[in-house]
Amino acid sequence: MLTPLEPATAEELAAAVAAAEGPLELRGHGSKRDFGRPVQASQLLDLSRLSGVTLYEPDELVLSAGAGTPVAEIERLLTANGQILAFEPPDLGPLFGQEAGRGTLGGMIACNLAGPRRIKAGALRDYLLGATAVNGRGEIFKTGGRVMKNVTGYDLCKLLAGSFGTLAAIASATLKVLPAPEAVRTLMVRGLGDPAAMLLMSRAMVSAEDVSGAAHLPEAAARCLPHADVGTAVTLLRLEGTPRSVAQRLAMLAKELESPSEELGEIESTVLWRGLRNLLPFRGDHGAAIWRLSVPPTAGADVLRACGPVERCFYDWGGGLIWLTTAAEGDAGAARIRAALSASGGHATLVRAPIAIRASAEVFQPQEPALAALTRRVKESFDPLGRFNPGRMYAGA
């Protein structure tokens, strides 16, 4: 492998890409480097020097930073100003054996990360206002802007988010940020089976109480929680807002659900939802393959049952997000898990697996031929020579 390229400005990045003679592996901190199909690159393109917050105007709800800026630095700055990344990006590093608190803005965008608040607030894609990036031709282009509302030209930000560095190398980006909620409380219901939990979460999400997190942990996953003394499944509903509003809505929700429930206070709730966001139930489990399934929320329990044997699992997004682990052998369950989605629709991503499995099984949801062809043409429109992370998502993309 050649010496890593380490550009510190957008211009240096463009020059590095233009001069590159072969495929490049894009990298920030490398905290999620093992997420995706293995990339065969001849050179590392290290973006971590493109670091630093260049603009932060709290009362305009806007923040711009270099792609290599640590997410932790951005979150510290926001916290000091009573603001948050509303989409709650999970810290996936520890799943891949990396230390916690690593990860860059660019990596967060590349993976379109989103945590429990996705159901209410949206994903990263909904907060990416603009970006400056370099395409596979080594040209700097910009898309979007720094204002909240903008329909000028194609919204290429949407494509950059979740493209795993296969379309362009982001130099800098602008995000919409939001005020942090003043108070948070959780309603916990014990002992529900998966189908009953799906119904309960659906009722909570349909209620007027403005639920901002709805998760269900079957018994095995619930053991990671400090509340798991009784060894049962727990279903968790989060409310956020002003203290008085949260207290009143919590009481209303408890009444509407008609199931015995307990209230978790501010600190307990904060710790709990941070844990779920960062996949605490899988912490310490280094061997298993990890899958992430996005399905229609009410189909969650049926899909999981149809998946066949899993080692550990839990539901987020009101049942619409299933995290599960399987034995890291064969195809890690790819065939049976994808077959389980056929009735409901949705997609399954193999988030973690040994390299041999990621090289043979499809990591991302396989696509119909017309969509697969369109995906390849979109890739070529940004990166005609296949410079960036070739094959990280699909063969040819």
Partner: protein
């Protein structure tokens, strides 16, 4: 505004094309007659008119696919159209192009409350979605002012907004799935009732693509529980600076109102003369701030906003006591366009977005431009998200005044870009702002967008003449840079 040179050969083939389309569609779904075609000659940007070559009105995805496949094979241009309410000329027909009217796709296919989703056809109006889910206490959040007429297909094409975007987002933030037909007749399904895409977020980029990438034939939207309560404040200020400061402080205090609208004095007077909403005539700026959500929270936040307003020097504060009063507060704002229409024979509505803190400077410069060109301007403003709607007052019957108004509008948009803003916040580029794209994007930025267009439509047949100031051939855009005199992998064959 120059449109691509019409292909005379296509125009000469009108009868043959209509005949071919009648083999695909029922006879009554193909309109060839000159007078009947004239009904489609313009959209909400009425300054431009052009009857289409022929109108096709499919009613199924298979029919759309067959029409597009035929047009693709015969190198015919296609202009998709929903309700034709675009303010930027997005549905302006072409003399040599087939107009693809989607009005027959007017069914609500499924309301799925448990999954907070509704599946509708693209010709369903924005408001009809909210009406279909209202019995369950739900609604569809984006609410462009044309919502009784505009269709969800058009909303997807334009990524339409409304007055509640700051809290609830635009169309793109409220979609779950799309079915779309590509120009070659291929049908792709993006998303569904689940969240996020497995691969590239094509749904995200198709949203707001102004009918240039594909024709949407089914839309799955996210629906929301109607908030328990909605209350509004009506706040008068002695200057736009004070009102702007109030907006900034509300947000800095951690409050995201459902809506935050500003009107300047000319707009206040026009609205008050028209609907007598009870607006303070002595105010230089008026803010309508709406809070929605649980009753206890709204009551609490209303009180906080009122305090902030007073601290910013508000000259009057009123809080809606009931739903009728809230509606009255909004009546003037919602009637602002027709109200301005009453005091001027014609008006031209602009749509730039700016960083909010630059508002006083932008308004002052706009007033100077207004004096210089002799045309009045009234401002209504989605203050929360910085989306300006200056209304330029002119008289099309006075020679040269339309051109002066358009030049004034272009200057306003250049000013928006110069202070860090954008050309359009919610109305789209269309033909209207097409030639201003270069103010915001350089050639490389635009070429990257055009290459994406090529990935969907390599012949440039879908809605040409919109969005891009110069039409490049895809082959020209695809040309590769030769680095240091040699192509990478010179041994590989290239076509």
């Amino acid at each position: 505004m120059r449109m691509p040179e019409p292909d005379q050969a296509a125009i000469a083939r009108r009868a043959e094309i209509a005949l071919a389309l009648r083999r695909i569609l029922p006879a009554e779904s193909v309109i060839e007659d000159g007078e009947a075609r004239r009904a489609y000659e313009s959209d909400g940007l009425t300054a431009y008119r052009q009857p289409p070559l022929v109108v096709a009105l499919p009613s199924t995805t298979a029919e759309v696919a067959a029409v597009l496949r035929y047009c693709h094979e015969n190198r015919l241009k296609v202009v998709p159209r929903g309700a034709g309410t675009s303010l930027s000329g997005g549905a302006l027909p072409l003399a040599d192009g087939v107009l693809l009217g989607m009005a027959k796709f007017n069914r609500v296919l499924d309301v799925d409350i448990a999954n907070r989703a509704a599946v509708v056809q693209p010709g369903v109006t924005n408001l009809a979605i909210s009406q279909a889910v209202a019995p369950a206490g739900f609604y569809y959040a984006p609410d462009p002012s044309s919502q009784i007429a505009c269709t969800i297909g058009g909303n997807v094409a334009e990524n339409s907004g409304g007055v509640h975007c700051l809290k609830y987002g635009m169309t793109g933030n409220n979609l779950l799935g799309l079915e779309m037909v590509l120009i070659n007749g291929e049908v792709v399904r993006l998303g569904g009732r689940h969240l996020d895409a497995g691969g590239y977020d094509l749904m995200g980029v198709v949203t707001g693509s102004e009918g240039l990438l594909g024709v949407v034939t089914e839309v799955t939207v996210r629906i929301l529980r109607r908030p328990s309560t909605q209350r509004a404040l009506l706040l008068g200020f002695a200057s736009c600076e004070d009102a702007g400061e109030c907006v900034a402080k509300v947000i800095a205090a951690g409050i995201i109102p459902a809506g935050m609208e500003m009107m300047d004095k000319p707009a206040i007077h026009a609205a008050e003369d028209f609907v007598a909403a009870g607006y303070p005539r002595d105010a230089e700026a008026l803010l309508i701030v709406e809070l929605d959500g649980p009753v206890v929270e709204v009551d609490e936040l209303i009180a906080r906003v009122e305090q902030i307003a007073k601290a910013c020097g508000s000259t009057s504060e009123r809080v809606s006591r009931d739903e009728a009063e809230r509606q009255r507060f909004w009546a003037g704002r919602k009637a602002a366009f027709p109200a301005v229409g009453r005091i001027s024979p014609d008006y031209y509505c602009m749509d730039g977005t700016i960083p909010r803190r630059r508002l006083p400077e932008v308004l002052a410069k706009m007033q100077a431009m207004s004096r210089a060109c002799g045309l009045r301007v009234a401002n209504v403003f989605h203050a929360g998200d910085g989306n300006l709607h200056p209304l330029i007052l002119y008289d099309a019957n006075k020679p040269g005044e339309l051109e002066t108004a358009e030049a004034f509008g272009a200057d306003i948009l250049r000013l928006c870009v110069a202070v860090g803003g954008v050309l359009t916040g919610e109305h789209g580029v269309g033909v209207e702002k097409r030639d201003l794209m270069g103010e915001m994007f350089n050639e490389t930025d635009l070429a990257q967008q055009e290459r994406l267009k090529c990935a969907f439509d390599s012949e440039g047949l879908l809605n040409p003449g919109k969005m891009f100031p110069v039409l490049h051939r895809c082959a020209e855009l695809g040309r590769m840079h030769v680095s240091a005199g040699k192509l990478p992998f010179p041994e590989l064959p290239r076509f």
